[in-house]
């Protein structure tokens, strides 16, 4: 059995729908890697050497701003694809927010494979369109909304994306989930202060939208209400 056969994200990843022969080829050029929280997989501006599927964990995409700060421009989750096939340079820094496992490919080998398999190229395009949608969503989140709207949108997005592995209904959002990051990181992502994040979460609990079983655990009680708050 190859590692592709037992891969828990295969049916939702860019590899979904590939035949067994293609998978066997891909399996030969794939390497599974564990990275620990805080470790960086790719650096912005450097030669793009890798592409990868996320198997487990959550990673952040960031770019440096002119004044040296870090701007988080997206979050990737299990089954997401990272890196830019056919691209010379990495345009984002990819850093693990939690301990993570990724299935990496040398970009050159992946490019060659994609060129020979138009259906994969097509999938890559579909993925990129989804990324574009997420980026627009993200920019809307960062740009327009009040602190309450930002937190509500953020929690809904987390519940949408942090679906348990191997779930039979991969599209159903999870009502209970563990946040992969602390409040300071949420604050950084949303461009808020840590105090605002804490106050907003407390307020959402007091008003019956969510339960907070622990500092990292969230249970959504009133999804409709939270959606209305998100604007």
């Amino acid at each position: 059995m190859t590692s592709c056969d037992t891969c828990i994200v295969r049916n939702r990843s860019i590899c979904a729908g590939l035949g067994s022969e293609e998978l066997a080829v891909l399996n030969r050029i794939a390497r599974t890697r564990s990275i620990s929280a805080g470790q960086t997989l790719m650096w912005e501006g450097e030669d793009s050497l890798l592409v990868a599927n996320v198997i487990e964990g959550v990673l952040k995409l960031s770019t440096g701003t002119s004044d040296g700060r870090e701007q988080i421009v997206g979050i990737v989750y299990p089954s997401d694809f990272i890196g830019r096939p056919f691209g010379q340079r990495s345009l984002q820094t990819v850093t693990a927010l939690t301990d993570a496992r990724v299935c990496t490919f040398a970009r050159s080998a992946f490019d060659a494979f994609a060129r020979d398999h138009p259906e994969l190229e097509h999938k890559l395009l579909q993925r990129t369109l989804i990324e574009l949608d997420r980026a627009r969503h993200w920019m809307l989140l960062l740009g327009r909304k009040s602190a309450t709207e930002k937190i509500a949108t953020f929690l809904l997005e987390m519940s949408d994306r942090l679906v348990p592995q191997g779930c039979d209904q991969p599209d159903a959002p999870a009502d209970s989930f563990t946040l992969p990051f602390g409040r300071q990181q949420i604050a950084d992502i949303l461009g808020l202060t840590i105090e605002t994040v804490s106050r907003q979460l407390t307020k959402l609990r007091a008003e019956g939208y969510v339960e907070l079983p622990s500092r990292r655990d969230i249970t959504i009680i009133d999804r409709g209400g939270l959606t209305a708050l998100a604007g």
Binding site: F86, L125, T128, M139
Partner: protein, 438 residues
């Protein structure tokens, strides 16, 4: 029918996509002025991204474009464009709203759909763009079903098709062969993909073009019902555009014929329900361009007539022009030199012009005239020198002039550029580099 005054039309005048025009650009304004202007942006900005490549180069074209014949060549240009996006976005004040993002060329669909989506993603993220209006110029010959799907999925709202003419014979003469069925398919694909506003670029004055052929092309256009139409006069300037030397100039329509074509074209389109916008655009009455024209807020910029009200237009890519209230700056034209600059972290602007108070006042008057709305001359200092010329135009019925307000008449449109040129102090002598007004 408009009255024909050949003496007014026999000299070359600018198209005034800016004032001062590109003829006044010089090397004394460049990257530093560009950086300072970008840092001082104070209000919504619109972005224009130039893709200077086409799969096939048409002989008539005056655009800065080259053959998209090598994947590496395109990729290294796109890498440079990414770098410039980073550079400019970093220099722009945080929180600057992005009103519109336009892709032009060349042909933006000469690059791969994947590269396009990535570029769009990059621009959205770097400029933290919320919900800008998105427009793309397209070559129908390369508008595959996949491309149309991608445009739909990217929520592109405006597409402009280079149609030029429906006549197979004329298409062969100008080196742009695209059967009518291709245009029909392109429109259908764009509609299916949800693109709400389609523009056709059309041409009159093509070599060997007859009035009947022009009207046929207009009728074919009317049937397909694009929201907008730009009807341009072909400018034959082979001394500036060497690729035009391939066109047989012996059969070019003469000035009287060009005038008649512009006039009949105008009549045919307005009779079909289009509203004339500016001196060469048309739009369906419900279209924002027609509404802007009616409301007196039409603008003129490097892309033609527009309803975009942003005071800051940021051009990205080789030869792209950025327009700020007090200066205009053009990027390095050659893709190679452009790449060198931005990969070294330098702004790409290499020439341009600062706009004095006098320039800005004249620019507003010129915009009013080209947009066919009243221009208030009561505070204009250069008025004395113009008295004779204005009286002459008035006597011919081309304008109305009450001593303060210059108002358009039904005969103004074909002479708008000629009238505008009166307010252009840089046009004292007649250079060769412009095309005829009609």
């Amino acid at each position: 029918m408009w009255p024909y005054f050949p003496d007014l039309l026999d000299r070359a005048v600018p198209r005034y996509t800016s004032f001062p025009t590109a003829a006044e650009f010089h090397g004394g304004v460049g990257a530093n002025d560009q950086a300072a202007a970008i840092a001082a942006v104070d209000g919504p900005a619109s972005l224009y991204l130039h893709i200077p490549y086409c799969r096939q180069i048409c002989w008539y074209c005056g655009c800065n474009t080259g053959a998209a014949n090598k994947a590496e060549r395109l990729q290294s240009y796109l890498d440079a464009l990414d770098a410039e996006v980073d550079l400019v976005a970093a220099a722009m004040p945080k929180g600057t709203g992005i009103a519109r993002i336009a892709f032009g060329g060349g042909s933006p669909n000469a690059i791969s759909p994947l590269a396009f989506v990535r570029l769009l993603d990059r621009v959205f993220v770097r400029f933290a763009a919320n919900a800008p209006e998105l427009s793309v110029e397209l070559d129908p010959r390369d508008l595959t079903g996949e491309w149309a799907n991608v445009l739909g999925a990217s929520r592109i709202t405006h597409a402009s098709l280079g149609v030029q003419t429906f006549s197979p014979d004329l298409q062969a003469r100008i080196g742009r062969v695209q059967p009518a069925g291709m245009i029909v398919d392109a429109v259908a694909n764009l509609r299916t993909a949800g693109v709400g506003s389609i523009n056709f670029d059309l041409m009159y004055g093509l070599p060997g073009q007859s009035m009947a052929e022009l009207l046929d092309s207009l009728d074919a256009t009317i049937t397909l019902a694009p929201e907008r139409i730009a009807l341009f006069g072909y400018a034959h300037v082979p001394q500036l555009m060497p690729r035009q030397r391939r066109i047989d100039a012996s059969s070019l329509p003469d000035q009287a014929m060009r005038f008649a074509m512009a006039a009949c074209g105008h009549d045919r389109l307005t009779a079909a329900g289009y509203v004339a916008v500016g001196f060469d655009h048309f739009a369906l009455p419900h279209d924002p361009l027609a509404l802007a024209s009616k409301a007196g807020v039409l603008r003129r910029n490097f892309q033609g007539f527009t309803d975009d009200q942003a005071e800051y237009l940021i051009g990205l890519g080789a030869s792209a022009i950025s327009c700020f209230p007090d200066r205009i700056i053009q990027n390095e034209k050659g893709p190679g030199a452009y790449r060198m600059r931005v990969s070294q972290g330098l702004m790409a602007g290499v020439r341009g012009v600062r706009r004095s108070r006098d320039d800005r006042e004249r620019a507003m008057l010129i915009e009013d005239i080209l947009c066919l709305r009243p221009a208030d001359l009561s505070l204009f200092v250069g008025l004395n020198e113009l008295g004779v010329a204005l009286s002459d135009l008035c006597a011919r019925g081309i304008i109305r002039w009450d001593g303060e307000i210059l108002s358009p008449t039904p005969s103004t449109r074909p002479y708008a550029r000629v009238i505008a040129a009166l307010f252009d102090p840089y046009r004292a002598t007649v250079p060769e580099r412009f095309s005829n007004a009609i």
